[in-house]
Subunit: 534 residues, 2 copies
């Protein structure tokens, strides 16, 4: 009886452990994380890896605003000292965010390029110092070398992780939402992206483009390639070559990644070509909702049949202008729903009794609450995937980076209404909320996306873990890496073949025309000689 119970228990355990097969032996994993929402996403993978018995070591710097720096069982951290402070770090990122949100729309492309280069240079400089200080730490490099790590998981939001992997001779995996214009995926990862139906991220086109849009998309790709070469390659290539002690580039090094974990899926993405080592794991952080704190649950229940609206502009937005905050609060006061607003700024004057402000909200638990009718969001990928997971339609107020593009995806799929942060009035927000809540098509579209999200052969987090452990088990995944990496750009596009074929055609045409001309002259001469004779 006891034996029987035990076997049933083990079987149950096996079933509840999820779909990813158990790795044979626990291993050691090095982590190179990003910051803010990137870190939150990576943390979910780290926690899962630790739960599966692996030992994780995170590499970060002394100015990190988000990465967990306190060790815990299975979790170790190595911190590189940098001269700048956490405040400096956050400020440079805020500069980037504020320019994009409030000023960029009024500037010309030249002004935008110059300003962006200036901001990127500022951010890259801090990153550059981190990288230099890291490679000056021979003791740490030596320690990591001896440690017996099996894989390095990197977020390229912070540059240098791939360089570290090469230096330590480790296989590595990239976790990525997107790079501007998909330059890194396209140029370094060899991901094909036909500009005729694959719109660049941040360009705000769908996969159905007319002629002017396709033209813009082609030019956008060319512009991003140029910016990459001027801003990124110029900054990093020499450092990469120096630290690896051989001629190389950032792009070459990134291209050596064994697996690319892309943080989207076909519920969100327009279908597009991809490669065997690109795995789409969007929404890996999503999970069923947990019960809310008591006070919050009471507020939510007090909404009755009208339900609630969840509102957050993400962890990076601390404050809004008084005017914008009042415009928003006034709109929220005009809907019958109760509103939970994550906002750390000054309390708006127009705040109505149906709206409560919170410094922090359990966003996933709220979105998974049966009373939730809509989600007002800036359109960051993490929040957007939580909404897809729980099937909550959205009102999008995008601020910067991929957010307008993300929300356009949701809008074209019929699951969101979009507003412009700088221009929207109280009535616009009120109307948008009323539309999304009362027109059932938004809920239906979102439920369709939610079904696609849940109906996959393997859960996204299990898939991410599977491929990390695959690389550990097999010491890489080179059998998934295309031979395009070994070609020059003109070989890749077969331009040498085209030139050869065109030369042959030109030669044949030339010989043909010349022969005809010669024959014609010969004939004419004979005829004219004959006529003269006559």
């Amino acid at each position: 009886m006891i034996a029987c119970e035990r076997s049933a228990f083990y079987l149950l355990l096996l079933l509840t452990l999820g779909q990813a097969p158990l790795s044979v032996t626990a291993g050691k994993i090095l982590i190179w994380p990003g910051e803010f929402s990137h870190w939150l996403n990576m943390k979910v993978i780290i926690d899962k890896l630790i739960a599966r018995g692996h030992n994780v070591t995170t590499v970060t710097h002394s100015a990190t605003p988000s990465v967990r720096t306190t060790p815990s069982p299975g979790y170790n951290v190595d911190i590189i000292q940098v001269p700048h402070t956490k405040q400096d770090f956050v400020e440079s990122l805020e500069k980037f965010m504020n320019y994009w949100t409030y000023e960029m729309a009024n500037d010309s492309i030249i002004q935008v390029s110059l300003k962006m280069k200036e901001i990127f240079d500022l951010i890259a400089e801090q990153n550059y110092i981190f990288c230099q200080n890291l490679f000056a730490r021979d003791d740490l490099l030596e320690k990591w070398h001896k440690e017996g790590f099996e894989v390095l998981l990197i977020d390229p939001m912070t540059t240098c992780g791939d360089l570290l992997a090469q230096k330590l001779n480790l296989p590595f995996i990239i976790s990525l939402r997107f790079s501007f214009g998909n330059v890194i995926e396209r140029l370094c990862g060899q991901l094909p992206a036909p500009p005729s139906y694959v719109p660049g991220v941040t360009i705000c086109h769908t996969d159905q483009m007319n002629f002017p849009q396709r033209l813009k998309n082609v030019l956008f790709n060319l512009y991003q390639d140029l910016m990459f070469s001027v801003v990124v390659s110029a900054k990093w290539d020499s450092l990469y070559a120096e630290f690896l002690g051989k001629p190389t580039t950032l792009c070459d090094t990134m291209g050596k990644a064994d697996i690319w974990l892309i943080r989207t899926y076909w519920d969100f993405e327009y279908p597009r070509p991809f490669l065997p080592n690109f795995k789409f794991v969007g929404g890996l952080h999503c999970k069923p909702a947990k019960p809310l704190p008591k006070e919050m649950e009471e507020f939510v229940q007090s909404s009755g049949d009208d339900g609630i609206v969840v509102f957050s502009l993400g962890s990076m937005v601390k404050n809004l202008t008084k005017e914008r905050a009042n415009t928003i609060a006034a709109a929220l006061g005009q809907i019958p729903q109760k509103v939970l607003w994550r906002y750390t700024g000054e309390k708006p004057d127009t705040l109505a009794p149906n709206t409560r402000l919170y410094d922090w909200i359990p966003q996933n638990d709220l979105l998974g609450h049966p009373k939730t009718k809509a989600f007002i969001t800036h359109g960051g990928t993490n929040g957007l995937y939580e909404a897809i997971y729980h099937g909550v339609p959205m009102v999008g107020i995008p601020l910067f980076a991929d957010q307008p593009d993300n929300l356009l995806h949701m809008k074209t799929k019929g699951a969101a209404v979009m507003l412009e942060y700088n221009k929207m009035q109280t009535k616009d927000l009120k109307d948008a909320l009323t539309e999304v809540i009362n027109n059932p098509s938004y809920k239906e579209s979102m439920m369709r996306l939610s079904r696609i999200h849940h109906d996959q052969p393997m859960k996204p987090l299990d898939q991410a873990v599977f491929w990390i452990e695959f690389v550990m088990r097999n010491k890489g995944a080179k059998h998934l890496r295309v031979a395009a990496h070994d070609l020059t750009w003109y070989q890749y596009y077969c331009l040498d073949v085209a030139a050869f074929l065109l030369s042959i055609v030109a030669l044949v045409t030339f010989i043909f025309v010349k022969s005809c001309a010669w024959l014609f002259r010969k004939c004419c001469r004979r005829t004219s000689a004959k006529s003269k004779k006559e």
Copy 2:
């Protein structure tokens, strides 16, 4: 105690049912199969679908040489009468096979093209009549329409399945190893195949091509596209348009497939770009070995430490010439292993006591036997995958179609030695066998491929069933279908955009040159006027 045992039993049952989640409700599936090895592969999927509670109806014709025509629980068949016999059908396929195996190498490309067109026309004519007779059966079309099928699974080896799907307004799934030059995948499925590193199937190049090989690959693709248009489109397009009652083509109709189940995987394929609705399920028919029949097991055990060699040239090869059979049998007699040879032809004079002939062999069970040292094969995909599954190195004697190409894959991956059927001598075969059996690198390479094959997030058969049931659950998988289907070829390649940009460049250059010339003339005139004056 009984309750406990029962729950343990259900849990065990759940585990043994495999990884694919149970579909919520059993459904009705229409099947459009291919013949010979194609049917064997499809049959595995059918059996699994029936085991999962689905009801399957296969559509075939009265001359089918392989499709199972007797109904059984869960399995129904509808047979269309055709005027030709099974013998006619097999003969036309043998004509194709024999020309490719014995004659093609000596012919010029013009002769090959003409002969191939003649043979394809012969095969297509029988297929055409089948299709016409099918669409004349209004009673069957009406019956199928009413039956409530949820999906049609087609093997395009027999044309018309996609047309039937469109006629019945059903989502459909294509099961495919390859089409010549990947024309159907490329042109109809919009699968990107950069000719710089994706070699056409049957061209016998790897993904590492030098300039002449890339040139040949480009020309091969162009040639296959032309042949497709002359041989296939010319034959079928009008019939498709007629039966659907609207302007359409075979390629357009094939392109409407919801999912493409490709019968290979990255253990075998060179990595290449693909699309979200292309799922690689190579080796879905493979399974652990079952015990051998008693007499066979005794013969295998009598081999001692030397072990055995399994030899089959596939189900389509019934006979060899006396000379070839003797050459082969003599070589087999010179190795210390025991040989099990699937051969229905006349017993060769040189047959040695270590070799036994069989009309049929349990190939998968033999390849999975611990005594098996090598596999002599023609290189059909089914057998090749059984060898990968069980990790058995190969001696390849390819005959026709994709077989030389398949074996080249295995050779370049270090898992096979290749011989030419028409030219090989006794010593060649004996040496090849000795090499493959005694040089451990072949076994190691094959074990590496075997590890890749087994180390997938989901078993191939479970994945195939998952996507069939996905289409049933969601009434299609249109969210995985790229927008490239809506573009013309010049839009796809952005040739209109390129032409526009080049025109702009040309116009700007023209205006610049003309302005310069005008200014130059103006200057010169003034100078010459001045000098004249002086």
